[in-house]
Amino acid sequence: MSAGAPGGAEPLLSLRDVRKSFGAGADRKVVLDGVDLDVTAGSCVVVVGSSGSGKSTLLRVVDLLEEVDDGQVLLDGEDVADPWVDADAVRARLAMVFQQYNLFPHLRVLDNVTLAPRVVHGMRRKDAEEAGTAMLERVGLADKARAYPDQLSGGQQQRAAIARALVSGPELLLLDEVTSALDPELVGEVLDLLLSLRTEGVAGRPTTMLVATHEMAFARDVADEVVFLHAGRVHERGTPAQVLGDPQHDRTREFLRRLR
């Protein structure tokens, strides 16, 4: 399956008319209002939109951390939103990186990385640590393997979280505002790493990504497709040049203007 193959290949992930609301009755707030989205294996889709537009909820729905009200979440054609699907098995095929890193503070960096390989994928400690060390090397943290998360800078913590997400070879990497909590001078190291995951990949395969971000530069440089989400609806989608360079909708123009 080639990256971003037009038409031909079936997408790895498809959302069809996904709806999600929180609360009930008068307090009910619609967060996703019929979202359609496709991610082809090997490609990178970037979701942009102001805070509250539903970006994070969209990613959490894909990772089955939220139950949808309606619609389909198709992973390789299987509707994983159905409650009779084994959600743990689905989540084991995906990986998510969070805005606040969410490293486990009681575990060393290497143990953070090897937890899922050992506990979920049944690897022996020795093999898991080998794979974990290789992955920490890949993200440039080989010397921090024995450190605890609170001994690292924000950028290092986020790179460790990315290593933890990638070590089990996920089919799809979900990135939720991964640079938003970082000091400005630390954003670069994380974005550089994500860029290299696209160009060089891991073990020669570019990482398939679904990204929610405020970093327009990242969207411009890395995305195969940019999706503009507003009030739980996709208002515009296309190549970065189309959506960011020549937006067709007023909402998109307004959003981009306010970023400058």
């Binding site: 019929g34 951390l65 009200d69 309606d70 619609g71 009779w84 739980g232 609806r233």
Partner: protein
């Protein structure tokens, strides 16, 4: 999108998922019920087929005897409840004061701070039973004319001494759990140290320790029964007296049931109250905190 105008009608797919989830919930209820019935049946079987069951039932679960002694034991419980309320109020107030003194940095309070540390160390470290015996038999030996020597007073005093120390430690943990940046924010607004403590730190400290304080108060309620050691006629002592004639232990069971009748609703009440206040620790304010499947 206009608020309120949501034309969404659940699809057949959503309906099927809901039906599945409902079926799962029904199954969970069924499993829970069957498990409960099996466990209860097993306990009942083991107890009722025990060789001594007939005699034990007579000695511990005689309905007539229970009915007879109920007024006396209930009257004893009234004393427990009074001791509980007074000891609880005094313990809360003094415990809070000790915690504030101990965490304050005011130089003039240094002697009080030392006293607080020593006091807490001593009364947290000595068994409550021992304090009861020493206070109950030691203080009257001093023959101070102004000191009441009723067993209920001395017993209550012992309980207050110990529980104040426990509560002080809980409040201290609560005060120390409030992040220093909160004090910085308050001081930067111009609040004095005392104002910052009273308006910003203490309210948050109290919220953080509601659950452990509540469980302390529940355990204070049952420990109020220890005053019977000194001869105060509380529920336990009343039950004890009632058993002496005929070696029928039903009064103890009656006393136990009465204690439960007070403490179980109390625990539930505190749980419901703190849940309503949204005081349940880490989860407050986190959206979508529960992973569903």
């Amino acid at each position: 999108m206009t608020a309120g105008a949501d034309p969404w009608v659940p699809s057949p797919r959503a309906a099927a998922r809901d039906a599945f989830r409902r079926a799962q919930r029904r199954r969970a209820v069924l499993v829970a019920s069957v498990a409960t019935v099996v466990v209860v049946a097993a306990v009942v079987y083991v107890v009722t087929t025990a060789p001594g069951w007939e005699r034990a039932r007579e000695a511990f679960f005689s309905p007539e005897r229970a009915w007879e002694v109920l007024p006396e034991v209930a009257e004893g419980l009234w004393l427990n409840l009074r001791v509980w309320v007074v000891a609880g109020v005094v313990g809360l107030v003094v415990g809070m004061l000790l915690a504030v003194v101990r965490t304050s940095r005011i130089p003039a309070l240094f002697p009080l701070r030392v006293f607080a540390v020593v006091y807490v160390d001593v009364f947290r470290g000595v068994p409550l039973l021992l304090v009861l015996l020493l206070v109950g038999f030691g203080l009257p030996a001093l023959r101070l004319p102004w000191l009441p020597v009723e067993a209920a007073f001395l017993g209550g005093l012992s309980i207050v001494l110990c529980y104040t120390a426990y509560l002080a430690e809980i409040f201290r943990a609560g005060i120390e759990s409030v992040h220093p940046s909160q004090v910085a924010a308050a001081r930067s607004l111009g609040l004095t140290r005392a104002q910052a403590a009273w308006r910003v730190v203490l309210p948050q400290a109290v919220r953080n320790v509601t659950a452990p304080v509540a469980s302390m108060l529940v355990s204070l309620q049952k420990d109020s029964g220890l005053i019977s050691i000194l001869g105060a006629v509380d529920a336990i002592r009343a039950a004890q007296i009632a058993t002496t004639g005929d070696y029928n232990f039903t009064p103890y069971v009656v006393a136990g049931v009465l204690f439960l009748l007070v403490s179980i609703p109390l625990t539930r009440l505190v749980d419901a109250w703190s849940a309503r206040q949204g005081w349940r620790g880490e989860l407050r304010g986190v959206s979508g905190a529960g992973v569903v499947r």
